[in-house]
Symmetry: C2
């Protein structure tokens, strides 16, 4: 007999995602699988769309979870909107901005980047100058840069683009469900997220939303979308309308889980959820400071759900992370790229963002560092 996994010991997930999953979501993911064309499943799909619209503060009809992880959401936005030769400006201050530039380049876009130091936010005045000097089909930014813990000024950049022909593409993988996301008010045209961060659902789906302007670009494509699996012109025929046209078999149980995760957030109330993230972030920052540890990002640009902690010079990065995982069953994240070995990334996402998580981590970290 092969081993059973149900015995996997629970871990306090305080890395950059996945985050802790509430019991109701585990219950939902294990609910009885039904067919992807079953009218009862269509009801679940319709509710998921409404839940996502509420969370994104959007009236966009095309607001659905794609059948892949957050990076599939990034791929979806670019592959549906980029025609070869289109100009794309990526505002870049971390791994995920860099990934955007890679994705768009592979699709034949002329990619320009405006780079900012890792750990600091995008500077709106610099963006303004850049936009004054050239026109772009798409301008892309990461709301919550998971690699550094920086919150970028998505609303302000959106104001610069208002009234222009450019499409505004925003990564909200780590922000959604932890800080406000105002898709319509901020003028966002294409947005993607992931389930395993502040939504506290296991990884596997990527919510995306397209504005009417983005749909216009999609509708005026000269060629078919060069990615059958993520082609929104076909996928929307399954997710919308009376006649649900089969495209691919939807990941039914993952969508159950997302449905429940979103319901929990809406039941708690968005303001309460955001306040909970902020209060626990402040408690964590205070606890870390008390230990003599400092955060990479200046207070005014810090994300509540992703805290990049500078590793003191004499401390063994991997050793501390292993000790936390093996002795305390707490996962924190390593640094990425130029920040590898220099920071730990401590997540306070969704169900993880509770006072007991903060206390458990601070106690464990004290014991490991001593």
């Amino acid at each position: 007999m092969h081993p059973r996994l149900a015995a996997i010991e629970e871990t306090l997930l305080m890395g950059p995602g996945p985050s802790c999953v509430p019991p109701q979501v585990y219950e939902a993911i294990a609910a009885s699988t039904i067919g992807h064309m079953d009218p009862r499943f269509v009801e679940v799909m319709d509710e998921v769309k409404v839940f996502l619209q509420k969370l994104l503060n959007t009236s966009n009809k095309l607001t659905i979870p794609m059948s892949g992880t957050g990076s599939a959401g990034m791929e979806t936005c670019f592959v549906n909107l980029v025609d070869p030769g289109d100009s794309v400006l990526v505002l870049m201050n971390g791994v995920f901005g860099k990934r955007m530039a890679d994705v768009a380049t592979r699709l034949g876009a002329k990619v320009d980047t405006l780079e900012f130091e890792w750990g600091t936010p995008v500077i709106v005045d610099d963006v303004k100058k850049k936009l004054d000097s050239a026109k772009y089909t798409i301008v892309a930014i990461v709301h919550a840069e998971t690699s550094t813990g920086v919150c970028n000024p998505v609303a302000e950049v959106g104001s610069l683009l208002a009234g222009t022909d450019s499409l505004y593409l925003v990564d909200t993988v780590t922000s959604l469900g932890g800080i406000p996301v105002e898709m319509d008010a901020w003028g966002i045209d294409a947005l993607y997220s992931g389930t395993q961060k502040c939504l506290s659902c296991p990884p596997g789906l990527a919510p995306v939303s397209f504005s009417e302007k983005a749909l216009g670009k999609l509708g005026s494509r000269k060629n078919k979308v060069p990615n059958w699996y993520l082609d929104l012109t076909m996928i929307t025929q399954y997710w919308e309308g009376r006649k649900r046209v089969y495209h691919h078999t939807a990941p039914v149980n993952m969508i159950y889980a997302l449905h429940q995760a979103l319901a929990l957030i809406l039941d708690e109330g968005l303001e309460n959820v955001y306040r909970r993230h902020m209060e626990n972030h402040q408690a964590l920052a205070a606890g870390l400071e008390e230990m003599g540890l400092s955060l990479l990002v200046k207070p005014e640009s810090r994300l509540p759900m992703l805290n990049a902690v500078c590793i003191p010079e004499d401390v063994d990065d991997a050793g501390v992370r292993s000790a936390l995982l093996n002795e305390h069953r707490i996962e924190i994240g390593a640094g990425l790229g130029p920040l590898a070995g220099k920071v730990w990334r401590i997540g306070l996402m969704g169900h993880t963002a509770r006072r007991e998580s903060v206390d458990r981590l601070c106690d464990a970290l004290k014991s490991v560092l001593n």
Copy 2:
């Protein structure tokens, strides 16, 4: 409070997938989420690879589940192997062959097709003539054509390609776990499948496997794979080797479920599993015949796990399917494309392939048709 889904009533899934999920797999999918870089999760990944290799009868190192449904597997195989201008021959006798041609065309391949009547298999002699007349970079075929219930001669076509430069690409979405798949012996270079058919795991993952020859083609690409999310040159760095390089967050709980589903199949024994599919198919065919119903496909080309049943002229297609679903909680599938309204597709996949499913369906169908 938003509604809970755990109360969704169980359905006997006898359509073209998803199939019924065994209780152990529900238990596994709800096991505690851990990090995608956690050494315990790496162990699960390593076991999944070995389980898949056994099921595919392959020693291919690159044998992994992609983070998307079966169609993402199709996209993965083509997008990694097709360079623009490559010639691709698709052997086509149903929806999924047609989909292959669409996917490859979008990627810039010169696609040629050899078509056979829906409901009949690919004819090996015709393929031989075609291959004598032209050379192809890739030759693609669907093993079990889910839209018609036909089993295609994958081994025989493989023999024709032995020793040539062509890559042999095979869709085993519906066949894998229900009838033998001999990846290495049949000379298959690239193969994809899905979890929601005979593996009896919820939809959401796409097992793929690449031969050394396929890896050679991948390694000699002139340009980056034009799909970041499905780029195997990067994904293998996460799935293989000592240093697991983060690519995207793996769908942890779906991989738990696949692990358990594969373990159940291997525990039962492949020969036993295939026999169970065949015996229940024979019982179903007999039961349907007794009712005066006939199967679309001739006995020698029938798939055990997907039975296309001709709808009698005076019978209301949708009405019967709705009655089965609403009154008997049994799902069967509609016909696709030219077979819409002409056939029902009755699945006997994985955990569904049990005598009690056959009996329940035959009883229900009798009562609905009378």
